[in-house]
Symmetry: C2
Subunit: 223 residues, 2 copies
């Protein structure tokens, strides 16, 4: 619909690349902590666990931030990637479902250090209201809309049981949340334009189990 201004950095970073940018960002942070000020694509690729061709291709979608014959300035590249992802600012996040997992998420230190700020913890269970987790009050789920509006929350985290998740997602979307990280083991239906990413422990384990079984079969056939 809108003609893309050629002045702004080329959009249309492939999804696979977007998913790796945070990995590069972390690898760069580690290199910086170790006192490294310059690195080659080979160095950074090794730290990120990818091959250097892929790394250079990924970075090429953002711009030309390296120097031929020299490599990349760690701090500079770090800033450019952070800017591309959008974590030079802080994102307010709301967590719904303060059970075991919700507790762990609320206490997760990586939140704050990586560009996110937990502005509210919500739970449907009255008995939890008023309780403090990681210095934040647990409040009624019905406060969702007010909190989202007040803090301009765009990202919601769902750590409720599966049967509550769809309703929570619906309420989040209705309140203005456009991106959801779902830990509940269920498929969420959301309108187009809303992004959902899911983290599912038992799915991950089942994928691993498949490979264990396959390796065992391969051995049985070889032996």
């Amino acid at each position: 619909m809108t003609a893309r201004s050629s002045a702004e950095s080329a959009r249309d970073v492939p999804e696979a690349t977007v998913a790796r940018l945070p990995v590069y960002l972390r690898a760069l942070a580690t290199l910086a902590d170790e006192g490294t000020s310059t690195c080659s694509s080979e160095d950074l690729a090794a730290a990120a666990g990818v091959n250097s061709s892929k790394l250079r291709k990924d970075l090429s979608y953002l711009g030309s931030y390296g120097t031929r014959g020299v490599g990349y300035d760690v701090d500079y590249l770090r800033y450019q990637i952070a800017r591309e992802i959008g974590v030079t600012q802080d994102w307010p996040v709301v967590i719904v479902g303060i059970g075991n997992l919700g507790h762990a998420l609320a206490n997760f230190s990586g939140f704050r250090s990586r560009g996110f700020r937990v502005v509210a913890l919500l739970d449907a269970d009255r008995d939890r209201h008023g309780e403090q987790v990681a210095g934040v009050d647990v409040r009624p789920f019905s406060d969702l809309e007010q909190i989202v509006t007040e803090h301009g929350v765009a990202i919601g985290v769902i750590s409720t049981p599966a049967q509550a998740a769809q309703d929570v997602a619906d309420r989040m979307v209705a309140s203005g949340v456009t991106s959801i990280l779902n830990f509940a083991p269920t498929v969420l239906q959301v309108p187009s334009g809303v992004d959902v990413r899911k983290v599912d422990l038992s799915i991950e384990l089942q994928i691993l189990a498949y490979h264990v079984q396959r390796k065992a079969q391969a051995e049985a056939e070889a032996g």
Copy 2:
């Protein structure tokens, strides 16, 4: 090296398909709970959140378990997928790092119901030893090798801080673990033949942040 016996079910299920099989399995379980005994690829695809072409293509790698003009028998297909993944048996799992997240994982009920059994919880911190979490004793990390050998553990879960994770992975691999689910925010180096899957909260949030930012930019340009 070994000629594949043509009698056994065709191996070489694409990785993308393997990652979806557990999703289908869960959707089938939901359908079964609702009393559905037969479903079309359209029904199952909707429940799994994929399109039906993809579903049928995925299932075709396992065999021909449907009936043209009719659909799939829910229980039968469920068993066939469970068998393919390898979750008709129970897999012993060890969790290392019993902090907030480790607690949540140990208490996770989906473990048992989905083909996994937590046989040990290990932590380097003496103060936690003897503590019980979800009915399982927390034991010293040095017990790892004995436990892996005794129970034939192939799958290990790492929920330690980042700086401990590589050492834990090394010790797991040395003990005989061939598949690792890593919750620590660090890239693990493992020998070939060992599978690692990682779950990383801050990476997931950053991917969402990127999309929120992109949507905001698109709106700004349109408006």
